[in-house]
């Protein structure tokens, strides 16, 4: 139980996927303009991360021991088709939610956080439950980073910055400061 808790905290704060491991930067820089969008993107990410983690556990247990060289190809195929299926199911079951998530669902397929989670989970030898805790932690960490970034950018919109800083340059420096702040969490682990 304690292990699960630390896996969760580590994925969420200490090794935050976006700010420390640099996974999932595209949505982090691309859709962090508004807080409401950022929250939705985060939710969609958590959802896909959890499903991916479950599937990867199954793949690792039943398929990959027999064909290890297929690891990468099977992961990407499974993730891509899974997102497609999830998209179809949500569209059928809850059109409201589908509209809310919109373009974000298909975009998540090419988000490196998802494939990154699959690979990290395999490399670290996480089982079913540990993987689940890892995925939820990573998803919440992504959402946290997205929402923080979005709120800062909403405020920045009103700030009077020099012309050259309007655009990605300033956003990256803000992200660097956020990343600096998250490094403070490294002290959580004393060992």
């Amino acid at each position: 139980m304690r292990d699960l808790f630390w896996i969760f905290i580590s994925a969420m704060l200490v090794n935050n996927f976006t700010l420390v491991l640099f996974l999932g930067l595209c949505p982090f820089l691309g859709v962090s303009g508004k807080v409401s969008t950022a929250v939705r993107m985060g939710a969609a990410n958590i959802f896909v991360l959890v499903i991916t983690s479950l599937t990867v556990s199954l793949l690792n247990k039943w398929v990959l021991p027999y064909a290890p060289y297929l690891q990468l190809i099977s992961f990407i195929v499974v993730i891509a088709s899974l997102v497609q299926i999830v998209e179809m199911v949500i569209k059928k079951v809850s059109p409201g939610l589908f509209r809310e998530l919109g373009i974000f669902l298909p975009l998540i397929t090419t988000n490196c956080a998802i494939l990154g989670l699959a690979i990290l989970q395999t490399n670290r030898g996480y089982g079913f439950v540990e993987g689940l805790s890892f995925a939820v932690g990573a998803g919440l960490g992504l959402t946290l980073a997205l929402v923080l970034m979005a709120s800062i950018r909403e405020t920045l919109e009103l700030a009077d910055v020099p012309g050259i800083a309007k655009g990605m340059g300033l956003v990256l420096i803000v992200a660097g400061s956020l990343s600096l702040a998250f490094m403070g969490f490294a002290g959580l682990f004393s060992s």
Binding site: Y69, I73, I76, A165, M168, L170, S177, L180
Partner: protein, 220 residues
């Protein structure tokens, strides 16, 4: 779309449409593995290889790939080349492979590669796609080298593990840590923004001197 010359196909990706600095694609590896020149260069070459291989294969088979499943087909092609690159790196430079961690397999989801397939290789001849891939791949390597050099020089005081500054140099450790990646790329983009603004200013037409009357009347 205007037809481009072979030179443009080749040179475009290197600077004018640099995949990272101008199009802001493939940021994850650019920030994650540029802590040292060695890692950055290996990553750049691996990506270059995957891009070149996928571009050639995709442009060769573009008429056979059904339109509905093209993205999946591209991803499969890319994943195959990444698996090759992964195995080769593991065999040739095991240490670097280990320090690159999950980022070698993650070349699969590098937007630069899929972007070039979708935007260029799926519509153009093999020769032109090869040129395009060479240019874009080289542009990526250059960016990785710039990032890697800056971060390793400042953060470690070394270049390719050779000490550059004297023993009095105090390394800026932060530059090889994650925030350093964001800061380095941020400042590079600011510098490019500054250069572009300067260029735009020099192109602007000069103001009329005071007192000149325009055709519609009134002074400017």
């Amino acid at each position: 779309m205007r037809k481009t010359t072979p030179q443009e196909d080749l040179l475009r990706g290197i600077w004018k449409e640099n995949p990272v600095l101008v199009q802001l694609l493939g940021l994850c590896p650019t920030l994650a593995v540029t802590g040292s020149v060695e890692n950055a260069l290996t990553m750049g070459i691996a990506t270059f290889f995957v891009l070149l291989g996928s571009s050639i294969l995709v442009s060769t088979f573009k008429s056979v790939i059904p339109k509905e499943v093209r993205i999946s087909a591209y991803i499969l092609v890319i994943a195959t080349f990444v698996t090759i690159a992964d195995l080769v790196l593991h065999a040739v430079v095991p240490d670097i492979h280990k320090s690159l961690g999950p980022f070698v397999p993650l070349i699969v989801v590098n937007c630069i590669i899929l972007g070039r397939q979708e935007a260029f290789s799926s519509k153009n001849t093999v020769a032109r796609s090869t040129l395009d891939a060479l240019g874009t791949g080289f542009g990526f390597i250059i960016t990785m080298m710039i990032m890697g050099s800056v971060r390793e020089l400042l953060g470690n005081g070394t270049f390719l593990n050779h000490p550059v500054f004297g023993s009095h140099f105090e390394p800026w450790v932060i530059m090889v840590l994650p925030p350093g990646g964001f800061f380095t790329l941020g400042f590079i983009l600011l510098a490019i923004g500054w250069k572009k603004e300067r260029e735009a200013e020099t192109v602007k037409p000069r103001r009329w001197p005071h007192g000149v009357t325009t055709e519609v009347g009134g002074t400017v």
